[in-house]
Every structure is written in C-alpha cells, then in structure tokens.
C-alpha cells in the first residue's frame, strides 16, 4: 500500500453541480412551497387570496408560525423539544395584560418584565433538562400544564375573568408597544391606493383609506428572527456548537463544547420567540385570553419538520423551518379561499406532513450518507 492516496475514492460518485445545489436540507420545503402556491393559484387564483388583503392575511398567519418555528427549529437542532411554547404564548399575553391593565403599570414595563419572566422560565426549563438528563419532551410537557394553569388561574383570581381587555387604550402613546403592534410602510400603501392598485374602504370612518395600510410588525419580527437565527446557525462558532450539541452531545463535550450552556440558551431563545408572538398578538388585538396559543407547540414542530429538520437533533435549517411555516399558513388560510370544507384542513396538513417527511428523509440520506 502506498502511503499516499491522492485520488478521490472511486466509490463516491461524481455529482453534478445542479444536483449538489439542489440537495440541501430545505429542498423538501422549497418543493412544498412551490407545489402549495401552484395549487392555490390554480384553484383559488381569483378568489381574493392574492389581492392585497388576501396576501396580508396568509402572510400574517405564516409570520406567526415563522416566529415560533424559528425558535423550535434552533432548539430541535440543539437536540431538544419545547412543548410549552403554546402555553408560554398564553402565559406571556396574560402577564402583559395583568401588569399593564390590572396593576396599571406602563405598557413598556409590562412588556420588558414579561420578556424577562418568559426567558427565565425558558432557562429553568432548560436547566432542569440538562441537570436531570430527563427527556425535554417530558419536562416541557410539565411546563405546558403549569403555564396554562397559571394563565387561567391568575386572571380568574384577580379579575374573575379569563380574558383581559383594554390593553389597546393602555398602549396608546407607549414607546415600546408599536415595535410589536405597529405597522410600517403606510405611505407606500396610501400611494398604491391612490393609484388604484389596491382596494380601499367603501364606507365608514375610514372610507377612502386603503384596507391594507401597512405591513404589521409581526412580519418584520418574523423576517428579523429568521435572518438572525439563520446567520447564527450557519455562520458563527455558536451555530457550530448548536449542531454539535444536537448531533452528539457526548462527542461535543469531549472536544470542549459547552453543551449544557448551548441547550439552556436555546430554551431561552424559544421562550423569547414565544414571547414575541404573544406580545405582537396582544398589541394587535388589545386583549389577552387564557386560551391563546393552544396547540401552537405542535404547529411549530410540524413547520420545523416540514422544513427538513431531524426530530432527533443535529440537523436542520432555519430557512427550511420558515418555509415550513409558510406552507402551513398558506394551506390553513388558502383552503378557505379554494372553497374546501374547513374540517378537511387537518387531512391536507397530515398529507403534506407525511410527504414532506418522506422527501426530507430521502434528501437527508443523500446528504449525510446515512444507511
């Protein structure tokens, strides 16, 4: 045997550039996105789904999914789950409502305190997981119940209600509230309305104003979080640690990766994302309800899985998760435009999930050489 082997192993087939460019974790989600849009353009193209109002509607719903899917994606790549996301959304909203409306403190303070509280709960969640070595599935399931229980208990105890409203009035003139509940790009939409490009209100106090008068901050947050998470994951040292922690925690520890710290930080980030979701919702609707966010944790996980992430960790893509969220949002809202009976939504979702997972498994085998 000669000591050098300066040739490529002949058993690794030459792959074409095109194939190489195509084979990426997000491929399944990209294919899915194209297919879903093609479907709805064909069957609901003239139903209002693609006018300004319709686009805003499904992109807002998708943006909500993106926000929690980004958090869930990072955490899943780090090898853990958080089932308490949905409860956290209800909890965070209620916390803002109680602090600002019941206690009468400023809204900005309520928001900041709520973020601190949620991130602390996320850290506790993560701490328990890494300390006890219990599956995060169980630990966060416990938090699902604990947080939901508090979310019903406290407003009932304090206000004898399970929905607290009046936040919009409290938020008027607040400096932080518009960061979550505001809209941007208003003048552009005014101009588009004046050019007759988009629909305007026909009557009422807002007659003549465009129906869509700006891009909600929710969408800006979704894009921002997506880009941030993508860059951190793929371009930084910390991102490498996230992959390592989820890929094989023991191997990562052997080379000095602070696996526990990475995991706890990811739990905190997931909680942060849930809190962003809740704050945007509360600022937009002006009330917090005990049932907000029900089952959102599963919707986030489904979006992440459609996006090509591996349930066991160590593999995935934020862009894929965001596309998964887009598919989810477009299908959920689009079936209505296409005139499909709403109870069939779950059937479609199940079918898409199944196809996405099968396709993703195939792609992943090609990429990683799993056998």
């Amino acid at each position: 045997m000669s000591s050098t082997r300066a040739t490529v192993d002949e058993r690794i087939k030459e792959t074409s550039k095109l194939r190489k460019a195509l084979i990426r974790p997000e491929l399944g989600a990209i294919v899915g996105t194209v297919a879903v849009f093609a479907f709805f353009i064909a069957f609901a193209g003239d139903s209002g789904m693609f006018n300004a109002q319709g686009v805003l509607n499904w992109s807002t719903v998708s943006a909500q999914f993106v926000i929690i899917a980004v958090g869930a994606c990072m955490l899943m790549i780090a090898g853990e789950f958080d089932l308490s996301v949905g409860s956290m959304i209800g909890f965070a909203g209620m916390s803002i409502a109680i602090i600002s409306v019941t206690l009468g403190w400023p809204v900005w303070l309520a928001i900041l305190l709520t973020f601190a509280l949620c991130i602390a709960v996320g850290a506790l969640n993560g701490f328990i997981v890494v300390r006890t070595g219990l599956p995060s599935f169980i630990v966060s399931l416990a938090f699902l119940f604990i947080l939901r229980g508090f979310t019903i208990f406290f407003p009932q105890l304090i206000e004898r209600r399970t929905i607290i409203g009046g936040i919009s009035e409290r938020a008027e003139g607040d400096w932080l509230a518009p960061v979550f509940g505001g809209k941007v790009g208003g003048p552009i939409f005014d101009w588009m309305a004046s050019q007759g490009l988009i629909a305007v209100f026909e009557r009422g106090t807002r007659a003549g104003e465009p129906i869509v008068n700006g891009i909600p901050m929710l969408i800006i947050w979704a894009l921002g979080l997506m880009i941030l998470a993508h860059v951190v994951l793929t371009r930084t040292q910390f991102g490498n640690w996230i992959f390592a922690a989820g890929g094989d925690a023991q191997a990562a520890r052997y080379v000095g990766v602070p696996v526990n710290r990475v995991k706890i930080l990811m739990f905190m980030f997931t909680a942060f994302c849930a809190c962003v979701f809740a704050t945007c919702q509360v600022m937009e609707f002006g009330s917090a309800g005990a049932d907000r966010g029900l089952l959102k944790e599963f919707e986030a996980i489904i979006a992440v899985v459609i996006g090509g992430a591996l349930l066991t960790g160590g593999y995935g893509s934020v862009i894929g998760a965001a596309l998964g969220a887009l598919i989810f949002g477009v299908v959920q809202q689009g079936l209505f435009f296409a005139g499909v009976e709403s109870s069939l939504f779950r059937v479609f979702l199940g079918v898409i999930l199944l196809f996405a997972v099968i396709l993703n498994t195939y792609i992943r085998r090609i990429i990683t050489g799993e056998r």
């Binding site: 209002g48 009330s287 309800g289």
Partner: protein, 315 residues
C-alpha cells in the same frame, strides 16, 4: 355545457342587477358564517344544519368556518380572510369584542354586510356597524334562569363551566348567581372539555359541598357528563338541575325528570334567520327594523316531543 353557459349568463345578469341595486331577483350570493367554537363542540352542528338549510332554501352559497382549537385570535384571522374573499355577507359571533371588533369593523367598512349572532350584545353589534344582532343575551338569560330557580327555592348552586376562556360562559354563571341573589364566588368550576374529567369534577365538588341545592350546566358538553355523575351519586332527580342549550341526552333527562328545564336559545334561528335576512336584503332591499332575540325559551317536560325528535339536528 349549455347549462353551464346558461348559468354563467344568469350569474352575470344577476351580478349586474345587483350592482345596479334594482332589487330584482338575483342568485349567486355567498355568505360566510364564522363561529368561535372548537371542532370538538357538537352543539354547533345545529348551526351548521340551519345554515345549510337556509342556503338551500334561498339558493345561495353558504360556508361555515371556525378556529379548530377555539383560539379567538385565530378566529380574528378567519374573519379577515373571509373579508378578503369578498362575500356578500358575513355572519359571525362576537365572543371577545377586543379581539374581533377590529376585523369585523374592517369587513363592514370594506362594504360587506355583517350580522352578529350568538355571543355579543345588540349594543356591541350596533357599535360595529353590523346590520343586526340575532341571539340570546347571555347575562340576561342567566339572570332569568336564576330568578326562576330562586322561585323554586334554590339558594346555592354549582356552575359547570366547560368553556372557561369564553367570557360569555362566565356571564351565564354570573347572571344566574345575580338572579338567585347570591355571590358567584367558588360556585363556578373549570371543568375542561373531557367527559370523564367533567363527570369526576362534578362528583368531587358535590362530595365536598353536600349542601349544594342546584347544578347549572352550560351546554351538552358539560350537561351530559353531569347527568352521569348525578346518576352515580344517586342525586339524579333529587338535586335541582338546569342547563343551557339542548341536546339528545338533555332532552331525555328532562323527560326523566332529572333536569328541571333547559334554556333553549334556538341556535337554528341564529344561523337560519341571518341568511334569510341577508338574502332578502340583497335581493329586495328589505330589512327588519330590530334585533332578533332567538332565546331564551325554557324547555320543560311539557311538550317535549318535537324537541326530542329534532334534538341535535335542528333543535
């Protein structure tokens, strides 16, 4: 092919007729009913049936939409979405004015006629610019039931709330307490939606508070398991039992004397009437001058037969 062409032609004529608001006969109207009920709530089946029947009779397209988990924020999105698809009218509940008033007002302002049904009040409907309100004011219904129970000698009660996150559910309990003239306090329990959990919680409460005079349930979801709980504890027919809404088991229990009365808000009318009203308004420009109270009606053991026959379907 010929028929299809004819239909298109008729639709085009109808549409132009509608636009000129001549009030002539038209077809092709589309109405969307948005409810706040989760998929699991069987009571809304009556609404679906009433809606479908009205759509068939008036020859209009009707669609039923609801948030799968009962999340009201999702419901707001559904209303926005319904508005984006530009129907002729939207029929919606007003389960939480804070969340829903924005989307509803936007729909009204973009030229869609809206009728509020079921939850909400006539005042809130007027404020939002809706055409009218069809339903049963929850607090008033609870209050009337409370007065009736007070007349029958009830002084304490248990309210089994299976939908605690909806303010209107709590208002029913509150109204009942006020009608009785007692504090609500801890007499309302959050029972959840699972039948066996509801059954066990009712039994636990009644064991812990044996001097409870009456039980109030808020619909079939909480009433059916409560009937079972009372059967098991030997209290069926002994304890004073009233419920909101009707269903197959509730009707049977009224017949058996287990339930004293059921408050029928007649949901059929809440779905059926708005479609009739909207269609006639769009075709002939006629509109009733007032809100419509679909309830409360108290259903007792007398004259149960028709109710029994149609319970769960149209009653």
């Amino acid at each position: 092919m010929k028929a299809a062409l004819k239909k298109i032609a008729v639709t085009a004529v109808a549409a132009s007729a509608l636009m000129s608001a001549s009030g002539a006969f038209a077809e092709g109207e589309r109405y969307v009913l948005v409810s706040h009920a989760p998929d699991s709530d069987s009571w809304w089946n009556t609404i679906k049936n009433g809606l479908a029947l009205a759509g068939e009779q008036m020859d209009v397209t009707v669609e039923y939409r609801n948030p799968p988990t009962g999340d009201l924020a999702d419901m707001a999105r559904i209303i926005e979405q319904a508005a984006a698809s530009a129907p002729h009218g939207i029929i919606t509940t007003l389960a939480d004015p804070d969340v829903l008033s924005g989307p509803i007002r936007a729909a009204v302002d973009s030229g869609i006629d809206v009728i509020i049904i079921n939850s909400g009040t006539p005042d809130q409907a007027r404020e939002l610019g809706a055409l009218m309100y069809v339903g049963q004011p929850e607090y008033d219904a609870g209050f009337a039931a409370g007065q009736r129970a007070a007349g029958d000698g009830v002084a304490s009660f248990l309210c089994v709330n299976h939908y605690i996150s909806s303010p209107s559910s709590t208002e029913r309990c509150q109204g009942f307490a006020d009608g009785l003239g007692v504090e609500l306090g801890n007499q309302m329990i959050d029972s959840g939606q699972d039948p066996s959990e509801i059954q066990n919680r009712v039994m636990a409460y009644l064991n812990a508070n044996p001097d409870t005079d009456a039980v109030l349930t808020l619909g079939p979801t909480s009433a059916d398991p409560t009937i079972l709980a009372l059967d098991q504890m030997g209290l069926a027919g002994d304890i004073y039992f009233g419920t909101f809404d009707l269903g197959g088991d509730i009707v049977q229990a009224i017949r058996d004397g287990v339930i004293a009365w059921g408050i029928d808000q007649q949901p059929f009318l809440q779905a059926y009437l708005p479609v009739i009203v909207l269609t006639n308004y769009h075709r002939f420009g006629v509109l009733p001058g007032n809100n419509i109270n679909s309830g409360p009606g108290f259903v007792t053991a007398d004259a149960l037969d028709l109710v029994a026959e149609l319970a769960g379907e149209y009653r």
